[in-house]
Symmetry: C2
Subunit: 540 residues, 2 copies
C-alpha cells in the first residue's frame, strides 16, 4: 500500500528557485535608517533597540564568509497557509549552506512549543519528507500569542539549553508584531537571541510598501478559483442554478477579489466597498436581485456570486444590530424581550432577516454570551433574502424568471494545498533569506523577497525592520503597536480593474475557467503570480 | 482582457490519444450472437430487431473503405460529466476522417432539442473551442426522457430535414436504455436512422462485463480527492476538527469509495454495505462515534469522514419512516397528528433525529407532497447525532476528548472540471469509435473502449448491443427493460481492499494527498486511472 500519491512523490523532487542574489556567497547592503509608517514617537519609545534600523538587501559576492556553527529555532504561528514547509526547508538549506554544522529545531504546536519547551530537531530526513508539501504538520502550528514576559523568559531558557541563537517566527501581522516585541525584549536582556519574522497569511492582508504579498495567498486563491471555475462551467451547462460561493477572508476581501479577477463571476462582493459606502444589507440584496433579474431578462436563469466570509461584520447596520443584541442579551435572557428593546433601525434590520438566521443570532452565543457572527451562513442569508426580494419584484412585474440557488463555502480546501510553483519558490526563498538575516546578525527584521512578478533570478532578497511597518491601534481598549492590516484599497489597481468590468461580467457570461494548479507544464500556466499582484506591481 | 485562462489555452492544444485500432483505416470484426444479462425472453420480445446482435471490435486495416457523405446528430442527456466535449470532438474527427463532407449537428439542451428541432451545425471552429474542456455548454444538456412515440416521430422529421442518418446519445443508464428503444423503433419504421449510445455518468454506476467505466468518473473523483486531501492535510495540521465530507452519488457509492481509496480517510461510508447489512442510523452513528473516541484516546481529536450523498435512502429504517410519513402526510396535513400515527419503530427513529432535520422532513415537501430526502444535509445530520452520542459516551466514561466538526459537500465542483488525460483520451476515443460504429451501419449499440488500464495503444475499440446489458425491473409500478445499475459490489476488489484497510485507516492518520489533476507532468502522475478501475481490472 502506498502512503504517498504519485504527485506527492514527483513533487518532492522539485528544487525551488532562489533569487540570483542568494545563490552562493552573499553580501549584505544596508540602506538608510527607517521610520515607522505612523506614530513614530510612540513606536520609537516602545522599541528603543529595534526602531529605526535600515532596510537591508543581499547581493552575490565572491568572498565566502565563514561563520561559526549555530542553532536556530523555528515556529509556525496561526492558521495554515500553503508553503509553510518550504519556508522551513529553505531556512534549513540556507543554514546548512552557511555552515554544515548548523542545526534547526522546530518548536511544536506553535508558539506554545517555545513556552512549554516542546521541540524536535529538524534533520534532513524529516525536511526531505516535507519539501514542496502543503500543511503545517511538520511541527504543527498554534494560536498562543507570545506577548508576556514570563513566556519570553521561558523561551530564553530553552534557547540557552539548546544553544539556539536565533528564532524564526512564521506568522501573520499579529505574530510578526509579537516577533518584534520578542526581539526588542531579547536585545534589552542582551541574551543573544535574534528574532526574524516571515510574512504568512492566505488572506493576503499582510502587505505594504515593503511586503508585496504574504505567502499562501497565491496557492489558496488558485484552489478556490479552480473549484469556482468548475462550478461556473456547471452553471453555464445546466443553466438552472445560481451558485452563491463564500470564500475565506474574515477581515479583508483580497481572496474574494482575486477569485473574482481570476474567474469573472456575475457578482463579487468586496467588504471594504460595503463599509466605505456604508451599504445596508437591503442594498446588497437589491443589487444582487437586480443582476439576477437582468440576466433572467436575457433568458439566463443562472449565475455565480462570490461572497467574502467577513461580509456581515462590514455592514454598518449589522454591526450596530449585533452590538445592541450583545448589550441587551447580557441583561435580558428572554430573547423576545431583548429583541423588543432594539432601536427602531436595528429592529427593522432584525425583522428583515430570515427566521433561521435571526434565531442563530440570538440563540447560539459564545461562552461570553456574545452573538457569534461567524456562525452566520452568509451565503444562505443572501440566498434567502434575494429570493424574497425577487418574489416582490415579480409581483411588481419587474422580474420574470426562475431562481434556484445553491450555497458553497471554500476555506479549508485551500489552506493546506501543496504550494504552487510561485509559493514554493517564494516560501523557500523567504526561509533561505531568513538564514542570511540570521547570519548577518539581524534581529527584529522580517524576511523579504521583492520584485516577485519578475523571474525568480531578478527577485530581490531583503530584510525590513518590523518596526517600520507599525502604527498604534486600539485593541481590546488599549493602544498597541501593531502592523497595519492591508485591506482591499478601493483606489488600488485590482479593485479598479474589477470595478471597471463588473457590470459587464454581471450581465454577460464571461466566465474564465482557471483549472487546477499545474506544477509541470508551460511556464505561463505554472508560474503566474496572482492577478492582484500583477495589477498592483504593474500600476507602480 | 483575457477570456480564457492560461491553462484553457494550453490545454486546447492537447491531442487526445486513440487506440491503435482506430488510427487509420478500420475493419470491423463481428463476434458471436449475444443474450441479455437476464429476462432474455421478455427483452427479445421487446427488441425483436436489436436483440441478439454480436459484440463487434475494430482493428487496423490497410484497405481504406470509401463511404458516401452523411450527416450525424449528437445529443447530451442528463447531468454533466467531464469529457462530454471530447466525445463530441472525437465523433467529429472520426466522421471527418471517414469523409470530409460528413456533417455533425448538435441538438440543443438535451433530448428536447431533437423533439423541438433545436440544433446547430458543429463546425470545426466551434469544435476547436471546446476540445479538452469540461462542461456540456457546447450544446447544453437536459433531462427530458425520450420514451414516447410522438417524440420519436418528431425526431424522424428533423433528421429527414437535415439528412441525418445517425444519432449519438451521450448519457447514463436510462438514456442508453432509451437510445436502444429509439434504435428499435427506427428499425421497425425502416426510417434509416441509426442510434448509438455513449456511457456517461460521474457516479460510475454504468458499468458491467462490457463497460469498464463510465466517462467523467475519473476526473470528478480526482477533483473531489484533491480537495478532500487538502482538507485532510488541514485536519492533520490544525488537529482540532473532524470534517464530515459528503460527496455526490445518489444511487451508488462508487465516488465515496474511490475518494476513500485515493485519500485513506478515518471513516468512509458505503451505502451498499449499509443496505446489505440492514444497518440502522444508530449503528452508523455509534460506529463513527467509536472511531472518534478511539482516535481521541490516542490524542487525535481530528479526523475525516466521507459520506455518500444517497446514504439516507439506503438505511432501511429511514426508508420505512419516509414512506410512512409520505402516506400519513397525504391524508393528514397537521404534522403533529401525522407523526403521532407513525409505527413504533418509525416513531423511535423520528425521535432520534435532530430537531432541524425532523422539521425539514415534515415541512419542506415536494410538489407531490412527498418528503424530500435530497434536502437532508446528511453530513450535518451525522455530525449532530455523533455529537449527541459522544456526550452520552463521555457520561459513561467511554470517551474523553473534544469533538468539533465541520461539514462539506462536493458535487458541482467536479461535474464540469476539465477532463483528466484519462477522460480526455477515453472520451475522445468513445466518440471517434462511435463514428466507426455508424460507418459500419450499426444501430442499438453502445460505443465501447476496453482494456483501459493499459496504455491507449492497447485499448480495444468495440461496440456492444445495448440489449445485451438489459434486464426487466419494476419502475413506477411497471416492469420495464432497463440497463442494470452497477452498485458497489461488496465482494468486488475495490470494496474488499477498502474493507481490509479501513480499521487501520480509522485509527492511524494514513492520509494520502492526491493533489490537483496534472496534465503535463510525468505519466505516473498524469495518466493514472482510478483505483477502482485498477483494482477491478487487476482482479480479473
Amino acid at each position: 500500500m502506498n502512503n504517498k500519491s504519485a504527485l506527492q512523490i514527483a513533487r518532492a523532487a522539485y528544487q525551488p528557485k532562489l533569487p540570483k542574489a542568494l545563490k552562493g556567497a552573499v553580501a549584505i547592503k544596508e540602506g538608510e535608517a527607517t521610520e515607522s509608517v505612523a506614530d513614530q514617537a510612540e513606536i520609537k519609545k516602545l522599541f528603543p533597540n529595534t526602531y529605526g534600523m535600515p532596510v537591508v538587501t543581499f547581493a552575490k559576492t565572491c568572498r565566502a564568509k565563514s561563520l561559526p556553527a549555530m542553532n536556530v529555532g523555528v515556529i509556525l504561528s496561526g492558521g495554515q497557509a500553503p508553503g509553510g514547509h518550504n519556508v522551513i526547508s529553505g531556512l534549513f538549506d540556507g543554514l546548512k549552506a552557511m555552515n554544515k554544522s548548523n542545526k534547526l529545531y522546530g518548536f511544536l504546536g506553535g508558539p506554545s512549543g517555545l513556552i512549554e519547551h516542546k521541540y524536535i530537531e529538524l534533520t534532513s530526513d524529516i525536511i526531505d519528507d516535507y519539501r514542496n508539501t502543503g500543511g503545517f504538520d511538520i511541527i504543527g502550528s498554534g494560536r498562543t500569542k507570545l506577548e508576556k514576559q514570563d513566556q519570553f523568559d521561558s523561551g530564553i531558557e530553552i534557547c540557552n539549553q539548546l544553544g539556539i541563537k536565533a528564532l524564526v517566527i512564521i506568522g501573520g501581522d499579529d505574530s510578526n508584531t509579537n516577533a518584534c516585541v520578542l526581539a526588542e525584549y531579547y536585545l534589552q536582556k542582551q541574551c543573544g537571541i535574534q528574532v526574524i519574522g516571515c510574512p504568512k497569511t492566505i488572506d493576503g492582508d499582510l502587505k505594504n510598501s515593503q511586503i508585496e504579498t504574504s505567502f499562501g495567498f497565491d496557492t489558496a486563491c488558485k484552489v478556490y478559483s479552480e473549484v469556482i471555475g468548475n462550478i461556473m462551467r456547471d452553471a453555464n451547462s445546466a443553466k438552472k442554478y445560481w451558485h452563491f460561493i463564500k470564500v475565506m477572508g474574515r477581515s479583508a476581501s483580497h481572496i474574494a477579489l482575486e477569485c473574482g479577477l481570476q474567474t469573472q463571476p456575475n457578482v463579487c462582493i468586496v467588504s471594504e466597498e460595503v463599509e466605505a459606502k456604508k451599504m445596508t444589507l437591503a442594498q446588497i440584496v437589491n443589487d444582487i436581485a437586480d443582476k439576477v433579474a437582468a440576466r433572467a431578462a436575457r433568458g439566463n436563469n443562472f449565475g455565480v456570486a462570490i461572497i467574502p466570509e467577513g461580509l456581515i461584520e462590514f455592514i454598518p447596520e449589522m454591526n450596530i444590530l449585533i452590538s445592541e443584541l450583545n448589550d441587551l442579551l447580557a441583561k435580558e435572557s428572554d430573547v423576545k424581550k431583548a429583541v423588543a428593546q432594539l432601536s427602531a433601525a436595528s429592529a427593522a434590520v432584525y425583522a428583515s432577516l430570515p427566521e433561521a438566521i435571526a434565531k442563530q443570532l440570538t440563540l447560539e452565543r459564545d461562552p461570553h454570551g456574545n452573538v457569534q457572527v461567524s456562525l452566520i451562513e452568509t451565503e444562505k442569508l443572501l440566498i434567502e433574502m434575494v429570493k424574497k426580494r425577487l418574489a416582490a419584484m415579480k409581483e411588481e412585474g419587474k422580474y420574470d424568471g426562475k431562481f434556484s440557488a445553491l450555497g458553497h463555502f471554500f476555506g479549508y480546501e485551500g489552506r493546506c494545498a501543496a504550494p504552487s510553483n510561485f509559493d514554493a519558490d517564494y516560501c523557500y526563498s523567504l526561509g533561505y533569506n531568513a538564514a542570511q538575516l540570521i547570519g548577518s546578525g539581524k534581529t527584529g527584521y522580517m524576511s523579504l523577497i521583492k520584485n516577485t512578478t519578475k523571474s525568480s533570478d531578478e527577485w530581490i532578497a531583503a530584510g525590513v525592520p518590523i518596526t517600520m511597518m507599525m502604527n498604534m491601534e486600539r485593541r481590546h481598549g488599549e493602544m498597541k503597536p501593531v502592523i497595519r492590516k492591508a485591506l482591499v484599497e478601493l483606489d488600488g489597481a485590482p479593485f479598479k480593474f474589477f470595478a471597471a468590468n463588473r457590470d459587464k461580467w454581471a450581465i454577460e457570461t464571461a466566465y474564465i475557467y482557471p483549472g487546477p494548479i499545474q506544477y509541470f507544464g508551460p511556464s505561463e500556466v505554472c508560474d503566474q503570480p496572482t492577478k492582484t499582484l500583477l495589477l498592483e506591481q504593474s500600476s507602480k
